[in-house]
Amino acid sequence: MSDFPILKQRGQHEVFCGLTAILWLHRKMQDAFFLVVGSRTCAHLLQSAAGVMIFAEPRFGTIILEESDLAGMADMHAELDREIERLLSRRSDIKRLFLVGSCPSEVIKLDLDVAAKRLTKKFNNSIQVANFSGSGIETTFTQGEDACLETVIRDLPTDDTQQLVVLGTMPDAVEDQMKTLLSDLGVGPVKILPTADQRATFGVGAGTRFACVQPFLGAAHDAMVQRGATHISAPFPFGANGTTDWLWAIAQTYGVARDHFDRVIAAPLARAHKAVAHAKSVLQGKTVFFFPDSQLELPLARFLSQECGMILTEVGTPYLHGTLLRPELEAIGPIASISEGQDVDLQLDRHSDINPDLTVCGLGLANPLEAQGKSTKWSIELVFSPVHFYEQAGDLAALFARPLIRKGLLTKEAAE
C-alpha cells in the first residue's frame, strides 16, 4: 500500500492557513501570547475561525500592517517594538511571545527572526520571543502547530539523558490518560511538547526517543532528528488499534514484555471496542469521502475502515508526509484513491460522481453539500475535540455517526 498511486492536483485549495492553529495552541500554552504580524485579513480569519468569540482580551492578536508601514523597512522594526512593548506592559502574565509570520509579512520579507532575537535581548530574557510562520503561502491549517513546535524544539537546551518526548497538542485530560498508560507500562520519564508552562522546559538530545500523536508534525519531527533524538514510528493513536499499535511501538523500544503490555491495556482496550461498537452499527458498510483539511485524514480513514467497517472512497489530504504516514499507509487496507493537494472544483465533480454516504469536509463546503442532501461531518471538529487514545475511541466514532443518525431522524418516513 505504501507505493499506492497518489493523485496530485493544483487548483483552488479550500483550506485554512496555519494561523488557525493559534486557536488551540494558545489554549494549551497558557503563558504564551501569539502575535500575528499581518493584515486585516489575518485578524478577520482568526476572529471568524474562532467561531464562538469570547471577546475577552485573548492571548492572541494581530499587528495590522498599514500603508505607511509598507514604505520603509527601518521604520517597521521600530513600529513593531513599540506595539509589542505597549502590549506587554498590559500583560504581565505573558512569559512567551510568538511573532507569527503571515502572507504579507513574508512577501515583504519582514525578518521576524531578527526581531525575535532583538526583543529577547531587549527584555533581558524575562520574556522569550520566538517566531514561526503561519502564512497561507507556507502552511496549511495544522502545519501552524508543526511550525510552532519546530521553533520550540530548535530553542530547547541540550540534554542527553534517556527520556521519551511526545509531540502534539492534546486536551489535558487526554494527556493524563496517556501518561497513566505509559507509566503503567513502565515507560518514563515522559515529556510532552508543547508545554503548558514555559518553566517546565526541558532539554533534548541523543538520549531522547520521541513519538508524535499527530500526523502533521513533519517539520517538528525533522527538528527532533536534527537534535539527535530517535523517532519511534507508529500508526497514530486514533481508535483502539491505533492506540495499541502506538503504545506497543513505544513499549518495544523500552523492552516491555508483551504479556505485561496486554495486561495494562486489557481494560481500556475492551472499553474502546465496546464504545466503538455503538457507532459501528451505524457506520458499517457506508462509504466515506474525505476532502483535504488537517492531515488527519489518512489515520482517521484507517480507523473508520478497520474499526468501523466503513468503505473508503477518495481520501484527500493537504500534504502527505511519507515518513510519518508510512505505518498508516501500510495499515489502511482497501481504499479507492488518495489525493494530495486540491483543485476543489474538480474534486467536487469526483465527489458528486462517487456520491458517498458520508463526506468529511471543511465549513466552506459542508452546508452547500448538505443542501444537496449529502451527509457531512465538518472536519475542524476533529482537530478541536478530544479524540486520541482508548477512552475517546467511542467519541471519535460517534462524531462520524451523528450526521447519519441525524439525517435518519429528520426524514418524514422516520417520523411516521
Binding site: 483552488q12 486585516r40 492578536g61 460517534a398
Partner: protein
C-alpha cells in the same frame, strides 16, 4: 502598525465578496493566497447559504511566487469562466496579492473573454469591508448601467443590500410591501438578487431607495449624476423615520399615502402603562453609522430612553454621527478599537446597550442588558423567522428586541429581591403546584447506596467540562450501582463512559 484584538470590519475583498455573493450570474476571481478561502464559511455558516459563494481564489503558495503567479491568475479566470459561465466577471486582489502587483484587471482584460470584466482596486492596507462592498457595486454600476427609458408605472431601485448583511433579507421584503402600498413597483434590487441585466436597466426606475449608505451610497451618487436618478436619504428604521421616508418619496414622485395603522403596534406598546418603566432608561448606542443613528433617534423619540452615548466604527459616517451626537448633547465615539469602546461603556454605566455582537459580549461581562442593532453579523443575526429592522414591522421587531433584555433583567431583579422570601424562595418550588410540589431528588440512586468516589476518580471527573460533569457523575454512579460496586475508580468512570456511549 496597529494592534487589533477583535475587528468590526473585515478587509475590503470580503466586502467585494458580499456584493458579488448577493448577485446572480456574476463571478468574482480573487488573486489571493491559500487560506483566504476562510471567507467562504462566513457565507455558508453564518448566513447558512446553501451554495458556495461565486468566488474563485487563485490560492497561490510560496513556490508559486518564484514562478508565475500572473499565469496562475489567468488560468483561474479561464477555468472559472468555463465552469460557471457567468455574464459578468469581477476581478480583484486580496491584501497579499496587492503586494505582488500582478495587475488582475490587465491580465483578465488580455484574456479577451466575451463578457464584461470589471477590475476592482481594493486598497487592503487603507480601507475595510464596507468600502469594498460599496466600491464593488459602484464599479459594476458604472461599467454596466446606461440611461434608458423610464418604466411606465412608477418604480424604484433598492440599493445597498448585500449577502451577509444585517437583516437585509427581511428589509427588502418589508420595503417592497411598503412601496407597493404606495403604488410604487420595484425596478431592481442591487447588489442583492441582481443579474448583470438588472444592473443595465437600473436607469429605468424613477428614483433610488438607498437602504444602506455603507454599501450603496457611491453607486447612488453616480446614478444621480449620470442617470438622473434621485435617491432617498432617510433610513426608514423607526415609525418617525418611516413617516419621513414616505414624505421624502412623495416629494420625489406622485404616489399614494399608505395606510400603515393596521400593523402598527410598537407605538401603542410604547405608550401603554406597561412600558412606563422604560422612561429615561440610560442607553448607549453603537454600531455602523447608519444603524447607530437610526437606533439613537428611535431610542429617544419612540421608546422614551435617554441616550447617554453614541458611536460608530466606520469613519465614513463620522460626520453625520458627530452632528447627531451633538444635537443630543452626548459624546460621539468614532472608534474600531474594541478595548476603547469597552472602557467608554464602563465609564458611562448605561442601563441598556444597543450595539453589535461585540458590545453584546462587553455587556455580558459588565452585567448590562444588551440588544443587537447592527453588523458585524453573527449566526444569531439570521433568525429563521421574518424579522426586518425597516418599516412598520421593523419597528415592531425592534420594540420586542430592545425590551426583551430589560424584561429579563427585571425578572432577575425580582428573583434577587425575593430570594429570601418565605414563599418564593428557591427551595419552595413552583407556586402553581399549590404547595404540593416535592423537590426532585438529586439523582436516582437508592438513598441507602453508599458509593465512594476514590480521590483519583474524583479528580478525573473534574477534568470533564462542567456542563456535562453532572451527567457524567450520575451515569457513573448509576453504572456502579448496577454493577454492585462500592467504590468508583478511574476505571469505573471510563467503564461507565463506554457503557453509555452512543
Amino acid at each position: 502598525m496597529k494592534l487589533a484584538v477583535w475587528t468590526y470590519e473585515g478587509p475590503p475583498h470580503v466586502g467585494a465578496m458580499r456584493a458579488v455573493t448577493g448577485m446572480r450570474k456574476t463571478h468574482l476571481v480573487l488573486h489571493a493566497p491559500q487560506g483566504d478561502t476562510y471567507a467562504d464559511l462566513l457565507f455558508t455558516m453564518i448566513e447558512r447559504r446553501n451554495h458556495r459563494p461565486p468566488v474563485t481564489f487563485t490560492t497561490f503558495q510560496a513556490r508559486d511566487l518564484g514562478s508565475d503567479t500572473a499565469n496562475l491568475f489567468k488560468q483561474a479566470c479561464l477555468a472559472a469562466y468555463e465552469r460557471y459561465q457567468p455574464e459578468l466577471l469581477i476581478v480583484g486582489a486580496s491584501c497579499t496579492a496587492e503586494l505582488i502587483q500582478d495587475d488582475p484587471g490587465g491580465l483578465a482584460e488580455a484574456l479577451g473573454l466575451p463578457i464584461p470584466v470589471v477590475a476592482l482596486e481594493l486598497p487592503s492596507y487603507q480601507r475595510k469591508e464596507n468600502f469594498g462592498a460599496d466600491e464593488t457595486l459602484f464599479q459594476i454600476v458604472k461599467a454596466l448601467a446606461n440611461p434608458c427609458p423610464k418604466t411606465d408605472r412608477i418604480t424604484c431601485n433598492l440599493i445597498g443590500p448585500t449577502a451577509l448583511g444585517f437583516r437585509h433579507r427581511d428589509d427588502i421584503r418589508e420595503l417592497t410591501q411598503l412601496l407597493s402600498q404606495m403604488g410604487i413597483g420595484i425596478n431592481a434590487i442591487a447588489p442583492m438578487h441582481a443579474a448583470p441585466d438588472d444592473i443595465r436597466r437600473l436607469g429605468a426606475a424613477h428614483f433610488n431607495v438607498l437602504m444602506y449608505p455603507e454599501t450603496g451610497e457611491t453607486a447612488c451618487r453616480w446614478m444621480e449624476k449620470n442617470l438622473g436618478l434621485p435617491y432617498t436619504k432617510t433610513i426608514p428604521i423607526g415609525l418617525h423615520a418611516v413617516s419621513d421616508f414616505i414624505q421624502e418619496i412623495q416629494g420625489l414622485v406622485d404616489c399614494d399615502a399608505p395606510d400603515l395603522t393596521t400593523d402598527m403596534r410598537s407605538d401603542w406598546y410604547s405608550a401603554s402603562v406597561d412600558s412606563n418603566y422604560l422612561t429615561k432608561k440610560r442607553v448607549f448606542v453603537f454600531g455602523d453609522g447608519t444603524h447607530a443613528m437610526a437606533a439613537a433617534r428611535l431610542a429617544r423619540d419612540e421608546m422614551g430612553f435617554q441616550v447617554v452615548g453614541l458611536g460608530c466604527y466606520n469613519r465614513e459616517q463620522a460626520r453625520p454621527l458627530r452632528a447627531m451626537a451633538q444635537s443630543m448633547g452626548v459624546p460621539a465615539l468614532i472608534s474600531d478599537d474594541y478595548l476603547e469602546i469597552e472602557d467608554h461603556i464602563k465609564q458611562l454605566a448605561p442601563e441598556l446597550i444597543l450595539g453589535t455582537q461585540m458590545e453584546r459580549h462587553i455587556a455580558k461581562r459588565l452585567g448590562i442588558p444588551c440588544a443587537v442593532i447592527s453588523a458585524p453579523v453573527h449566526v444569531q443575526d439570521f433568525p429563521a423567522r421574518y424579522s426586518p429592522q425597516m418599516g412598520v414591522e421593523g419597528a415592531n421587531v425592534i420594540f420586542d428586541t430592545w425590551v426583551h433584555p430589560l424584561v429579563m433583567g427585571l425578572e432577575e431583579h425580582l428573583l434577587h429581591m425575593f430570594r429570601d422570601d418565605f414563599e418564593f424562595n428557591d427551595a419552595a418550588g413552583p407556586s402553581h403546584h399549590g404547595g404540593s410540589h416535592q423537590p426532585a431528588p438529586q439523582h436516582d440512586i437508592p438513598a441507602d447506596a453508599q458509593i465512594i468516589w476514590l480521590d483519583a476518580a474524583e479528580k478525573e471527573l473534574k477534568k470533564i467540562p462542567f456542563f456535562v460533569r453532572g451527567k457524567a457523575r450520575r451515569n457513573t454512579e448509576k453504572f456502579a450501582t448496577s454493577k454492585g460496586l462500592q467504590e468508583i475508580s478511574i476505571d469505573t468512570l471510563y467503564e461507565a463512559k463506554a457503557h453509555y456511549a452512543q
